[in-house]
Each structure stands twice: as structure tokens, then as C-alpha cells.
């Protein structure tokens, strides 16, 4: 078998192994690589910096542990920023696996800043059917969430006095790992006109640029790079910044794989052509 055929038909497990090494090595050996900043991330940061001294924003934690690696750093940076500015936070979850994770996150960070549930922040909990839940929140948060995640009656929470629907929050930052992002645009922004920014996974990011340009979104944090940017703007290095080195190595590996496969492909094509020319010249 000529070399190019061997390269083209290589067992996929070799590819897995190469990529695995490209991630494992940088995780164990620590490195630092800076990132470039973008407008859409800055826009989210600017919005969150206005949520201070009792101002209220809705942070929708609509992802679950499967996309946690990309979205958790964003949630952490935003929650810390709001608490530092003494802003108020309303949290909700539209992802089936999200609530336990959100509870862990908010409890941990609130303890760092001495913030109290019900006064400085309220975690409403989870409801299935994201579209319907968002629509119901548009009439009153109490419709889908008569009780919060911990079973308290929402009406009895001091922070919720006079807070009824999207009209009472400065805006929504939705961190979403799935369709919830679309629902925030279609139902939250289009139906109720609440300003929406998204934090999404890298894969989803390219879908939301049209909405950004159409003005349906005021900001966008795309994937782990966006999280790293946010952390850099907020000067709060965390998981986002730490994630960059193995990103670089693994991207490099995939790029090399594409180059190799194409070299082999063209070598094969050239060889086949030579072969057929040789036959036709006979």
C-alpha cells in the first residue's frame, strides 16, 4: 500500500490518541497565553457594570453540566461582578440538570460576599418547557415560579416586592447551552421587549451573530474564549483564562491533521492521474 493510502485510511483511534495528548499535556503542564477582546463581550460587561446598588438583572442559567466547562466561568464572573457592585440578582433555570449546579454555584459565591438569599438574590429554580416558562415569566415570575427553588413563597421574599415581570429587570443575560437561547430571543425579546444578551457555547455562537446585528441581542459571550475575554476585561482571571493553552494545542493538532490529510489526498490524486496518463499513452 502506498504511503498516501495508509495515511488516508488510518484507524480513527490514532487520531483520538493524538488529540488526547494535545489536551492532556497542557492540562498537566501549566502555560499562559493572552486573548484578543471583542465588542460583543465588552457590551455584556458594560451592561452588567450598570447593575449596581439595588438594580436588578435576571441571570438565566439555562445550561447543564454538559456545557458547564464553557458557561460556568461566565456565570461565575457575572455573579461576582454583580455582588461586588451590590446589585441584585434574579436567577432561573430552564435546563433539567441545571438547578442543582446553579444552587451550588450561587451558594458558594454568595457566601464569599455575605449575600443573603431573598434579599440580594433569588433563585427561582427550574421549570420544564423553556418557551412556555419564558412566556409565563413575561406576565409574572410568580406564574411559573410560585415558589423559589428552596420552596419559599416568592411573594414573601423582600427582594421580590414590586418585581413582577421583565419590565422590572434591567435586562436578561441568558447563559444557554441549547434551545433556551432561541426562546429568550423569540419569546423574551420579541414578545416582551426585554433586552437580552447571551452567553453561549462556541458551537452555538455563529448562529447568534444575525440576532446581534438585528438588534435582538445587545451582547454575546461566545464560548470559552468569550469567557476568557470577560475575565480579562473584568480583571478576574479564572477557568476561562486557564482554558486557553490546551485550546491552542488542540486547534493546532486539528489544523495539522487537515493539512496532512489533504497532502495525502492530493498525492493520491496526482498518482492516479499519472497512472491513467501512463495507461492512455500506451
Amino acid at each position: 500500500m502506498p504511503w498516501y493510502d495508509r495515511v488516508l485510511s488510518i484507524d480513527r483511534r490514532w487520531v483520538y490518541l493524538i488529540l488526547g495528548l494535545a489536551v492532556v499535556v497542557p492540562v498537566i503542564v501549566e502555560m499562559h497565553i493572552p486573548v484578543t477582546l471583542s465588542r460583543e463581550v465588552q457590551a455584556v460587561y458594560d451592561f452588567v457594570s450598570e447593575v449596581r446598588d439595588g438594580e436588578l438583572m435576571l441571570l438565566a442559567i439555562d445550561y447543564d453540566p454538559s456545557t458547564m466547562a464553557e458557561l460556568h466561568p461566565m456565570a461565575e464572573a457575572i455573579i461576582r461582578q454583580v455582588f461586588e457592585q451590590n446589585g441584585h440578582l434574579l436567577l432561573s433555570s430552564l435546563s433539567q440538570f441545571g438547578p442543582a449546579m446553579t444552587d451550588e454555584l450561587i451558594t458558594r459565591i454568595a457566601a464569599d460576599y455575605g449575600k443573603v438569599h431573598g434579599e440580594d438574590f433569588v433563585f427561582l429554580g427550574y421549570k420544564p418547557y423553556p418557551a412556555i416558562t419564558i412566556l409565563a415569566m413575561g406576565s409574572d415570575f410568580r406564574v411559573p415560579f410560585p415558589n423559589d427553588y428552596y420552596g419559599n413563597i416568592v411573594d414573601e421574599l423582600p427582594m421580590m416586592a414590586g418585581v413582577h415581570n421583565f419590565g422590572d429587570v434591567r435586562g436578561v443575560v441568558a447563559l444557554a447551552g441549547g434551545t433556551a437561547a432561541d426562546f429568550w430571543i423569540i419569546y423574551g425579546n420579541a414578545k416582551f421587549g426585554v433586552p437580552v444578551a447571551l452567553g453561549v457555547t462556541g458551537v452555538m455562537a455563529s448562529d447568534y451573530y444575525p440576532y446581534l446585528q438585528a438588534g435582538q441581542l445587545f451582547g454575546l459571550i461566545p464560548g470559552i474564549k468569550g469567557a476568557a475575554e470577560y475575565e480579562q476585561i473584568a480583571d478576574r482571571p479564572g477557568e476561562g483564562v486557564r482554558g486557553i493553552p490546551y485550546q491552542t494545542t488542540s486547534h493546532a493538532v486539528i489544523l495539522c491533521l487537515i493539512i496532512v490529510t489533504n497532502i495525502a489526498f492530493f498525492a493520491k490524486r496526482a498518482a492516479t492521474r499519472r497512472h491513467s496518463q501512463a495507461i492512455s499513452s500506451l
Binding site: 489536551v23 497565553i33 453540566p65 444552587d103 412556555i132 451573530y209 486539528i254 487537515i258 490529510t261 489533504n262
Partner: protein, 208 residues
């Protein structure tokens, strides 16, 4: 008759909800909220059929193949343990209960791991599919290549050029493509929905 009445019901419910969209009155809002609740309730009450189906296929497999018995038993034990561990709402929401341990140490890592395997699959798919066989394939692979390049540190001005170029791709051709797909999908989905309401598409209803 067994089929006509349900088809009429589809049409009626659909028309009511379309009309609801253009009626801003409070009564219409109440109707909307209730209709959505109703859909949720139907969905929730259908769950027992799902559980029945799962258990049936699990038991059938175990009966047929002795090698499957252990695996089937595992599914049933997992299900039963989780039900018992979550019987009370407090157990379900507390962060130290068995229910939350099962969640945090079995469901979460399993999910995150399967998801992370996509990194390997992407590399493998790129290796096998990104070969410039045709002009179209070449465009696909070159775009993907350029977009991935942005994470590779390069000397200036190359990295700025690349960043600007990726931005251009995102805002011009990528956006055009996404917009076209969105409009197309929207139109196709609406046409399909109208066919559903009119009873032209009715595969899901089945026969008598």
C-alpha cells in the same frame, strides 16, 4: 369518524391559538396561559407510558439473553434507587442527600464525559471529511481552517489580519447563510404547520 374528529380538533385548537396571537385582550392572555399549562400536563401524564416501554424492553432483553440479565438489572436498580432517593422534595433539592450524590457523581460526570468525546469526534470527522475533493468541499474546509487559526498565536500583523478576516466571515457570508437558512426554515416550518392544521400531514395520527 375515529380520525375526522381528532383532525378537526387539531384544526380548531390551532386556529384558536393563531387568533389568540392577534388578540391582546386579557382574556386572550389567560387562554394562552391555560393552553400552555394543558400541553405541559398532557406531556407530564404521558411519562408512565415511557417508563412502561423502558421497563418492558429491559425485561424482554433479560428474558431473551441470559448475558443481558446483569445489565437489565442495573437499569431497574438505578431507576428504583433514584425514585426512592427522590421521594421527598427536600431529599430532591438538598445538596447532601443520596439523590444529589447520584446526580452529582454519576449523572453529571457521565454527561460531561460523553459530551467531551465530541472533541475526539470532531478531530476524526475533520480528518476524514475535510479533503478538497470538490470546490464546495474546499470552501468548507478552508473556512473551518481559517476560523480555527484564530486560536493559534501568530506574529503581528498576521493575528490581527486573521481576527479581522474571521470577523468579516462571521458578519458577512456566515450571517447571510444563517439568515437564509432561518428564513427558509421558518417558511418551511410554517407551511408544514399549516399542512398539519389542514390535516394534509397526518402520519403521526396513525390508522384505525
Amino acid at each position: 369518524m375515529k380520525k375526522q374528529l381528532p383532525m378537526f380538533l387539531v384544526f380548531l385548537c390551532g386556529m384558536i391559538m393563531i387568533v389568540q396571537f392577534v388578540v391582546p385582550h386579557e382574556y386572550s392572555q389567560t387562554l394562552f396561559q391555560h393552553s400552555q399549562d394543558f400541553v405541559i400536563v398532557i406531556g407530564v401524564l404521558a411519562l408512565p407510558i415511557g417508563i412502561y416501554s423502558l421497563m418492558k424492553s429491559t425485561v424482554t432483553k433479560a428474558r431473551r439473553e441470559p448475558k443481558e440479565r446483569l445489565y437489565s438489572l442495573i437499569t431497574i436498580i438505578g431507576f428504583a434507587v433514584m425514585i426512592i432517593a427522590g421521594l421527598k422534595r427536600d431529599w430532591f433539592t438538598s445538596s447532601t442527600s443520596l439523590s444529589s450524590n447520584l446526580f452529582n457523581y454519576i449523572l453529571v460526570p457521565a454527561q460531561a464525559t460523553l459530551f467531551s468525546m465530541l472533541a475526539f469526534y470532531i478531530a476524526s470527522a475533520a480528518y476524514r471529511a475535510f479533503r478538497a475533493r470538490t470546490a464546495l468541499a474546499a470552501v468548507l474546509l478552508i473556512t473551518a481552517f481559517v476560523v480555527m487559526l484564530r486560536l493559534i498565536p501568530m506574529p503581528e500583523p498576521l493575528s490581527t489580519w486573521n481576527a479581522e478576516f474571521v470577523r468579516w466571515i462571521l458578519e458577512v457570508p456566515n450571517m447571510a447563510a444563517k439568515r437564509a437558512i432561518l428564513i427558509g426554515v421558518g417558511l418551511g416550518a410554517v407551511t408544514y404547520s399549516i399542512k398539519l392544521l389542514l390535516g394534509i400531514e397526518r402520519a403521526y395520527m396513525g390508522g384505525d
